[in-house]
Symmetry: C2
Subunit: 460 residues, 2 copies
């Protein structure tokens, strides 16, 4: 019997994790694997690009977990610079275009993995494609930005977007010695937080010397005589720039899948079942930044582009294809980030998410410290907790602080997964010693306040 | 109607939290509160004493959360230097001895809180009471040790005991410029960990310049002509010392309660119900280091002396006495500690606890890093996970590492509380960004390995 053929579209985290995991289960005599990647690189940490640009990470090689050669050494027929241009679901084949030779050809599959990732959102404004305007989605993007910094006539950087990528790139440009202005159309930076917590980020960014302008949708990129970007025009004013970084966020790259008639969700991502199989298609899997995932708190799908999910998806897909078993039950929406020494974290629902999900809720916001107040290095943090009215079920947590703040959100992530009430959380046996926590961990303080808010609201 | 009288025995975390919380619920017209404390201080962080001795914390005042004067200002009749010498349960009264005046008197109560804390274990060997031998249980102990350091003829410190207090005191003495030897009778330091993890602590302590001698039970304290300790004799040899610190651990201080016929458990601690009421006694509560707590994983009571539990107990007792409501469901046994930059954490059951609880189990031990491997400051850590055979329920986690290691144990503490399986833990949505975690958080890596071990054991 001939080996089955697995075709993988996309050579980053989800696709190559799936290929590698499937290979662990089945050797080349049972399963042949062909993987297509349109860029030069495989299995790299896109989340690490801001730290490469900042200089914290020496070179792009450090961001590559596994090179094309390493994949090939494990009997994966990896074809870089080769773009899949069509999926023929009926005919069980894909068409690939070799970007070096220009040659196009069909490849048949028994099983298909779609891991086409996400594409950066680019505002549709004049000048957006000018030299000196840079996305930071791929290693090629990162290299282009670094090359561009050398050519920048001055030291003014404008970052468009104040979400995770935006604030991380603000730090990176600051570390590169640029004067940084962040422009965002939302009322506060970090719109993945509630505005009251976003305001804390705004204030802290001010303190770090980063100018943040909110309510400033971009209307035009200004260019000079040589065509290079010279500034960013917004509804609020014009900001001169020697380099412009787009950090607005991403949307699922599902052009191929959509054209092939595969099911897409409300956010444009592929819809899968719990085994990461594309809904209604027994031999097609999808994972990573091109799929929608179930939000376990809100009970509906979302699009979240995050390396840790992509890696999980890949492992699960690979196991299922290889004859093992795995499922991805969903997410609670945990995310952590930092800008210099400012740490930002969130999980679960924001107020507006809770409202949109039809949930009535109470909130509690507290201030505490990362260590016992008397211990050297204790830093302040603000924790906001959202709980369901009456049931007291935890709905979400947001944290803004300094060292030791962000990863505390993991406690809430597990509690959300377990469906805990904030009252039950007050009894959690969290690690305590003065160098690590006040005697009441900030998460416990927030839980106590939230539990009191639930009781007060319930008796109102 | 006259106010009810609440009597509190013990002026530290549990006792004064109970008094303060009860006061929040009821004013002096409804509830009079008398609190007895045999020492000079109230509401202080005993856990902070090593950091005061080390010099990390400036003075003992910083360790005091609330002074006697502050308590008195809240209408609590706090009597320091006054020791309760008898509880008359039948007569609902306690006898107190004023240690200044020598006067003894009876005080009636309607409701009683016993928060007598713990006493340090002192080996019953010749010389143990010599000058230069110091416990570190109270602020008075800490002051005595600091005074003694000034008088020490040389710079050799011997710490007896290699548990939390012992290793923290080893760090403190090292920071004070002493040459430190830690003696312990167990086969590895940190016997709250399994020996394989304790060995990692041993190696790391070696690297820090701390000499650790295991299997060395103390047989005698050697003394000089002036009576001051000059060395420690053990079964393994004799170790010269200019100062000796006892860091062996504590046992519940329940002499009073035992004499009064109140119920004590197998570990010598008071037994309470879920509301922290002494079992069978409707008007007597107990909390903090003098009680036994339910171990939610093993399903039996344990004695754990820890400020965070004492504070929770106090809050719950105070609320219940004040007419509110609260319960303490139990613990999972979380503890974190550090020796210089070495971080140590554990929660749940060790292998021998699982065995003693009648559980069959599998283990998995992995190495990972605190941040993405390429991110500056990524430090190694070892995570050991124990899961029940067949069901795959998480039973325990131990972590030894450097910065960023210890508080990761909180994820396991919540998972234990929720009764999660290690398989379910592999899907946890933990915060990921390169400065905070590898793309697979070390806890997830351990969970994956443990889940595989469960499957392998199940099919064996």
């Amino acid at each position: 019997m001939a080996a089955e053929r697995l075709v993988v579209i996309g050579g980053d985290a989800a696709g190559m994790s799936a290929a590698s995991q499937a290979r662990r289960f089945k050797g080349p005599d049972e399963l042949s694997i062909v993987a297509f990647e349109r860029g030069h690189f495989t299995s790299y940490s896109a989340c690490g690009i801001p730290y490469w640009v900042s200089g914290d990470v020496d070179g792009r090689e450090e961001l590559v977990a596994r090179t094309p050669e390493e994949h090939r050494a494990r009997a994966i027929d990896l074809r870089t610079r080769t773009e899949v241009t069509e999926i023929d679901v009926e005919g069980r084949r894909v068409r690939a275009l070799d970007r070096e030779s220009g040659e196009s050809y069909w490849t048949a599959y028994d099983k298909l993995v779609i891991a086409t990732g996400a594409r950066p959102v680019r505002p549709d404004v004049p000048g957006i494609d000018a030299p000196g305007v840079h996305g930071v989605q791929t290693l090629d993007d990162g290299q282009a930005l670094l090359d561009s910094l050398d050519k920048a006539p001055g030291r003014r950087a404008v970052v468009v977007g104040a979400g995770y990528i935006g604030v991380e790139m603000a730090e990176a440009m600051l570390k590169r010695g640029f004067e940084v202005t962040v422009l965002d159309r939302a009322p506060q930076p970090m719109s993945t937080l509630d505005p009251d917590m976003g305001r804390l980020v705004h204030e802290a960014m001010d303190g770090l010397g980063i100018t943040t302008v909110n309510g400033a949708a971009v209307t035009r990129i200004l260019t000079g005589r040589d065509g290079r970007a010279t500034g960013v025009e917004t509804e609020k004013g014009t900001y001169p720039a020697d380099v412009v970084v787009l950090g607005i966020g991403v949307e699922p790259e599902t052009t191929l899948a959509g054209a092939a008639g595969l099911p897409l969700g409300a956010h444009g991502g592929l819809l899968t079942d719990l085994s990461m199989r594309v809904a209604g298609h027994d031999d097609i899997w999808a994972g990573g930044d091109c799929v929608e995932v179930l939000d376990l708190v809100a009970g509906r799908t979302r699009h979240i582009a995050l390396g840790t999910h992509a890696n999980k998806h890949g492992q699960i897909i690979g196991a299922n294809i290889g004859g093992g078993y795995g499922t991805f039950p969903g997410v609670v929406g945990t995310a952590v980030s930092k800008v210099c020494d400012l740490e930002i974290a969130r999980t679960g629902l924001r107020e507006k998410d809770a409202h949109a999900a039809g949930l009535r809720y109470v909130t509690a916001t507290i201030e505490s410290t990362s260590r016992a107040g008397y211990y050297p290095g204790a830093r302040p943090m603000t924790v906001k907790m959202i709980a369901e009215y009456r049931t007291g079920r935890l709905l979400g947590v947001q944290i803004v602080g300094r060292e030791g703040a962000a990863k505390r959100v993991d406690v809430a992530a597990v509690a959300l997964t377990a469906g805990m009430t904030v009252e039950a959380m007050t009894a959690l046996d969290l690690g305590y010693a003065p160098p690590f926590s006040p005697v009441w961990d900030p998460v416990l303080v927030a839980a106590r306040r939230a539990a009191a808010a639930v009781r007060e609201a319930g008796s109102a």
